[in-house]
Amino acid sequence: MTALVVSLVKSGLLEIQEYMRLQGQTMRGIVSRPFYFRDVVEQFEEIGIGSLTVVLLTGFFTGAVLALQTGITLDQFGARPFVGRLISASMIKELGPVLTGLMLAGRVGSGIAAELGSMVVTDQINALRALGTDPVRKLVVPRVLAGVFMAPVLTVVANTVGIIGGWLIAVYQLRVASSLYWTSVVEGLFLQDAWMGLIKPFFLGFAIVTIGCHVGLRTHGGTQGVGRSTTNAVVASSVAVIAVDFFVTRVLITLLY
C-alpha cells in the first residue's frame, strides 16, 4: 500500500518536473531562433478561427439563459430592468473566460494531445529530431503563442455574443426596453472587471495548450496510448481551467480592487 503511494507520488512529481521543463524549453523557444513563423500563423488560424463556432454558440446561449434565469430572480425584487447589469458583470468577469476556457480545453487541448501523440507513436517526432528540428520550437511554441493570444480574443467574442444573447431574451421575452438594457449593461461594467476578464484568459490559454502539448509529447503505447492521452488532456486541462481561474481571480482581486 505504502509502496503504491510512494510510486504514485514519484510519478506525479516526475510528471510535474517534465511539465516545468517543457515550459522552460518553450520560453527559450519563444525568445531565441530558429522561430517557425509559418507554423505560428497556421496555429493562430487553427486555434483562433477554428474555435470560433463553438465559442460563438456557447457564448450566445450562456448569455440567453442567464437573462432567463436572472429575469425570474430580479422580478422578485421588481428589478427586471437591471438584467443587463447582471449579464455583463457575470459574463465578463467569470462566465466568458471560464466557459471559453472549457470549450478550448475540449477542442484545442484534446486536438493538440491527439496530434502530438500520434506523431510520437508513429516516430514523426523522432523524424523531426533526426532532420535537425527541435520539436518544441516547431510544434509547441506556435501552439502556445496561438493559445495565449487567441484565448483572450475568443473570450471577448464570447462576452459580446453573450450580451447580445441576453439582449434578445431581455427585449423579446422579458419585455425590457432595448435602451434600458444597454444602459444597464454599461452600468454593470467596471474597468477592473474588464481587466479581470482580459487577463484571465491569457493564463487559461497557456494552461490548456501547455497541458495538451505535455500530455501529447509523453504519449506511449501506440494508438491506444493516443486515446488515453487525449482523454487525459481534456480532463487535466478542464480541471486546470477551473483551478487556474480561481487562483488568478484571487490574485487579481488583491491587485485590482
Binding site: 533526426a130 535537425g132 527541435d134
Partner: protein, 282 residues
C-alpha cells in the same frame, strides 16, 4: 545553431578517408528491466556498409536510434563523425545530425505535409538553400524514385511502398554523409527494391556515403554487399558485381539475445556452420 569547436588540420586528416565514421564501444541499453543490448561494439569505416540482421525485437532499430542520439545508452561510448554523442545534449546533437539521414522503419512521414514538402523538409526548414534550388532537388529525387506525379499528395493518399520510397527520398535529399536505413525495402516489389538497392550502392560508391542497413530481406542485403557502382567505358554509371576487395567493405552483423552473434563479410556469412545463422539464412 551552435557549432562545435573547429577541428585542427591533423584531426581533420585523421577523420578523413578510411577512418571510422561510427564507433560503438560496449554499448548497453535496457528498457525498464528488459535488457535489449549488451556490450555491443562495432566500427563502421567511411564509405563502407554495415548490414544489421537479427530477429524481430532483437534491437536493430534501437541501435540506429542510439547512433542518431534519439535514445541514450545506459553504458558505453558512441562516436559519430568524430564526435562523442552519448551524453551530448539535444542542441549539440543537432549539429551531428546535420550530416546524418535516417529512413525510419514505418516511414515516419509528416502527415500534414505533402510528398514534396516531406522530401524537401530539411533543405527548406533547416538550411539556407534558395527555394528554387530546393524545388529542383526535390523534383530530381522524386523523379529518381518514380514518384514525380505524386508530389502534391499527402502521405495518407499513398500506398505503403510509395510511403517508404518517400521516406528514402527524404533521408537522401540533404545529401548526408551517413545514411541509416531501417528496413528500406520491406514491402516493396522486387523491381522497386532493386532500384532502392542500386541507389544505396551508388550513394556509397559515387558520393562516398557510409551506410548502415537494417533489413530482413536477405536478397537485398546480399545485393548491396556484393555490388558496386562504377562508370563504364562510356562514362555511364553502372551497378555491377563487386570485386573481392570491394565486397569486403560490407560487413554483416547478426544480433541475438542482445549480443553480436556474428560479424563478417557476405562470403563468410554464406559459409557459416552456425545452426542459428543457417536457419536465419534459409
Amino acid at each position: 545553431m551552435v557549432l562545435a569547436a573547429p577541428r585542427s588540420a591533423p584531426l581533420e586528416e585523421a577523420l578523413g578517408e578510411g577512418s571510422p565514421i561510427v564507433v560503438l564501444d560496449r554499448v548497453s541499453l535496457a528498457f525498464d528491466d528488459k535488457v535489449i543490448l549488451k556490450n555491443i561494439s562495432f566500427t563502421l569505416l567511411k564509405g563502407h556498409t554495415k548490414i544489421i540482421l537479427g530477429a524481430s525485437g532483437s534491437g536493430k532499430s534501437t541501435i540506429l536510434k542510439l547512433i542518431l542520439g534519439l535514445l541514450k545508452p545506459d553504458a558505453g561510448v558512441i562516436w559519430v563523425n568524430g564526435e562523442r554523442v552519448d551524453g551530448m545534449t539535444e542542441l549539440e546533437m543537432m549539429k551531428v545530425r546535420a550530416d546524418l539521414g535516417m529512413v525510419f522503419q514505418e516511414g515516419a512521414l509528416f502527415d500534414s505535409l505533402t510528398v514534396a514538402e516531406n522530401v524537401g523538409y530539411k533543405l527548406f526548414e533547416e538550411s539556407d538553400m534558395p527555394r528554387a534550388d530546393v524545388r529542383q532537388r526535390v523534383d530530381e529525387i522524386l523523379g529518381f524514385i518514380g514518384l514525380d506525379d505524386h508530389v502534391d499528395r499527402t502521405p495518407a493518399e499513398l500506398s505503403g511502398g510509395q510511403r517508404r520510397r518517400v521516406a528514402i527520398a527524404r533521408a537522401m535529399a540533404a545529401k548526408p554523409r551517413l545514411l541509416l536505413y531501417d528496413e528500406p525495402t520491406t514491402g516493396l516489389d522486387p523491381i522497386t527494391a532493386i532500384t532502392v538497392d542500386n541507389e544505396i550502392v551508388k550513394l556509397r560508391d559515387i558520393e562516398n556515403v557510409s551506410s548502415i542497413l537494417v533489413t530482413h530481406q536477405l536478397r537485398d542485403a546480399f545485393f548491396v554487399a556484393t555490388h558496386e557502382a562504377v562508370h563504364d567505358a562510356a562514362g555511364r554509371l553502372q551497378v555491377v558485381p563487386a570485386g573481392l576487395d570491394k565486397a569486403e567493405e560490407a560487413e554483416f552483423i547478426m544480433l541475438k539475445d542482445g549480443e553480436i552473434a556474428f560479424e563478417g563479410h557476405a562470403a563468410e556469412l554464406r559459409a557459416t556452420s552456425d545452426s542459428y545463422l543457417k536457419t536465419f539464412l534459409s
